[in-house]
């Protein structure tokens, strides 16, 4: 699928810091969010996701650094230029605030403040609500809505203006189960029509379902992604059971009875590195060559090119005993059940 100018960053961050009191809430050396893609920002609560969003949305000034949003500086003097830049951004907050009026009035609000006629606002608001499956709530007073309904109204309100950049903060936290697939497909629809979307979530698997572009924050700083082997391919049924056929042609045994496109992850701890194949019940045995070794904490991560790039965790002792170096030939062994499969959200393919 065509992406709108995929190499232009929608948001670029350089040397950005934000300090509350004596706590550094955010400190990012350099990050870019390419236009026309879904980006997931993951991390535990308090990692700085919301702070980053607030800075991007222009709600707060940064203490230092350069933040360019849609090609402009969001933290400048307020004025017409600032207003028109703000109006190209949609923001759905984690704890949505709905104005005390009807749900539809809320969704019409961003249109009305842009001077769009009442009739057109009404139509577009209705469409946005229908998109999120909450058209029937239009006349309801917001005080009577459930948390999940509020979340959906808030998102409808954020997308009704068809923003170029959409910020969605923890949309899954309060969402009802039926709302999750609706939201996912809505977001992917939007991205296919050129919207850049930033989703913050502490739920890693939700992030993987939406995107392979993941920024992990910890203590306000970008952290290396929790090392997970993320694979994408087609589950097919074979004589020796279901297998995941990856894009390079590599085949991996998986434990599932459903075929079709899937995303998969394998924890590095579940992958055993050995010099030679050994006898075990594990069904996946792949030969490959080490392309990188990285020691982090008390674990050494060995990245192995075995037709597909996989990372395995080994103890420093094993690393010494096996004399692992870049270029060593090794065997990777893991169980079919170690391959966690999940549906990729929506149907739009994305490349990393």
């Amino acid at each position: 699928m065509d992406k709108a100018a995929p190499n232009t960053p929608a948001v670029s961050v350089t040397g950005l810091t934000k300090v509350y009191g004596n706590v550094t809430a955010l400190c990012i050396e350099r990050v870019q969010f390419d236009a026309g893609c879904v980006h997931a920002i993951v991390g535990p609560n308090g990692a700085g996701k919301t702070t980053l969003f607030r800075l991007i949305a222009g709600l707060e000034p940064s203490d230092q650094g350069d933040l360019r949003v849609l090609g402009g500086k969001i933290h400048g003097r307020s004025g017409e230029e600032h207003l028109s830049l703000r109006r190209r951004i949609g923001f759905a907050a984690q704890r949505p605030y709905l104005f005390s009026a009807s749900a539809r009035w809320n969704v019409e609000y961003p249109l009305r403040v842009r001077g769009i006629t009442r009739a057109e606002s009404e139509n577009r608001a209705r469409a946005a609500m229908a998109r999120l499956g909450v058209a029937h709530l239009a006349a309801r007073k917001t005080g009577t809505l459930s948390a999940g309904e509020r979340q959906r109204i808030s998102i409808a309100r954020a997308i009704v203006t068809e923003p170029e950049l959409l910020l969605v903060d923890e949309p899954f936290a309060n969402l009802d189960p039926e709302g999750v697939p609706i939201l996912e497909s809505t977001l992917l629809d939007l991205v296919s029509s050129g919207t850049t979307i930033l989703v913050a979530t502490h739920l890693t698997d939700r992030a993987y379902r939406l995107s392979t572009r993941i920024l992990r924050l910890e203590g306000g700083r970008p952290a290396p992604p929790a090392v997970v082997n993320i694979l994408e391919g087609e589950v097919v049924s074979t004589n020796s059971g279901p297998m995941l056929v990856l894009e390079g042609g590599t085949r991996i045994h998986v434990a599932t009875d459903r075929i079709g496109r899937r995303r998969a992850s394998i924890f590095p701890e579940d992958v055993i590195v050995s010099a030679r194949p050994f006898d075990s019940s594990a069904r996946n045995i792949l030969r490959g060559r080490i392309t990188a070794l990285q020691e982090r904490g008390s674990t050494v991560f060995a990245t192995v090119d075995a037709g597909v790039s996989l990372t395995a965790a080994v103890t420093p002792e094993s690393c010494r005993r096996l004399a692992l170096t870049v270029g060593s030939n090794v065997v990777l062994t893991f169980k079919a059940a170690a391959v966690k499969l999940f549906y990729k959200a929506g149907s739009v393919s994305e490349k990393h």
């Binding site: 949305a57 222009g58 709600l59 307020s78 207003l83 703000r86 109006r87 951004i89 949609g90 923001f91 907050a93 704890r95 949505p96 605030y97 104005f99 005390s100 009026a101 009807s102 009035w105 609000y109 961003p110 403040v113 842009r114 007073k141 917001t142 005080g143 009577t144 309100r157 954020a158 203006t161």
Partner: protein
């Protein structure tokens, strides 16, 4: 005061109310129109004052907030004295010949109510969830629209501010007595009439007016409860 005054007075009070006693109703009418007018002026000044003090970030803001809250405790007599000095015939506003007229009472009550309206408005805006303003901001509201939205979201609190001020004014006696002069058919309100009738020993008439005052205050409080009970209204 023995029970016969209380009970007999109350009974007589109801007779006066039922028979449409001119003194009683005239005073009630004067009370209502003067207090309502003063409340309107006080709101026109106090609401913007409280609003911009709440959202503003200017030098002396803390001082202004402290002053407003202090003025809340101002005795009505002091307000009366202040306005008296301002409008007496030999002073600045003397040529308007306001002293001992409904206009003087309105000026006095307006000054009395401004701090009430402003302080309560300030609290209403300050206690409003900051997310209201931020949401309007992220939804693309202009600065002016932002303020309107904040006011709309705080509307219950603002109405309460106005209603509380109205309640205070209708039961107020110091300013009315001092600036209005309690002139028959002209500046005699329920409260000044009550003071007068009590001093004359006309307890039943005083009681009747007291009951009307109570009824008015009750009506106002019911209105207040209703406003506070309202949630999620429509934009008018």
């Amino acid at each position: 005061m023995d029970d016969s005054i209380l009970l007999g007075g109350a009974a007589h009070a109801f007779r006066l109310i039922a028979s449409g006693d001119a003194r009683v109703y005239e005073a009630a009418f004067t009370s209502i129109w003067i207090s309502c007018t003063a409340t309107a002026f006080a709101s026109a000044i106090g609401l913007p004052l409280g609003f911009f003090t709440a959202i503003g970030r200017f030098k002396g803001r803390v001082l202004l907030v402290a002053i407003l809250n202090t003025l809340l405790a101002l005795p009505t007599v002091i307000v009366g004295l202040f306005v008296y000095a301002l409008i007496r015939r030999v002073s600045l506003l003397g040529p308007l010949d306001l002293l001992f007229s409904p206009g003087a009472m309105i000026v006095g009550q307006t000054f009395l109510a401004i701090p009430i309206v402003a302080a309560l408005c300030l609290t209403a805006i300050e206690t409003l969830d900051p997310a209201a303003r931020e949401t309007a901001f992220t939804l693309g509201a202009s600065r002016k629209r932002l303020l309107l939205t904040v006011a709309w979201e705080a509307r219950h609190g603002l109405l309460v501010a106005v209603a509380v001020a109205g309640g205070r004014l209708i039961g107020e006696v110091g300013v009315s007595m001092m600036l209005g002069g309690n002139i028959t058919h002209y500046t005699r309100t329920l409260t000044t009439a009550i003071a007068l009738e009590t001093s004359k020993g006309e307890f039943a008439v005083a009681m009747a007016m007291g009951l009307i005052l109570l009824a008015l205050a009750l009506g106002l409080n019911l209105l207040l409860r209703w406003i506070q009970g309202m949630r999620g209204g429509r934009l008018g």
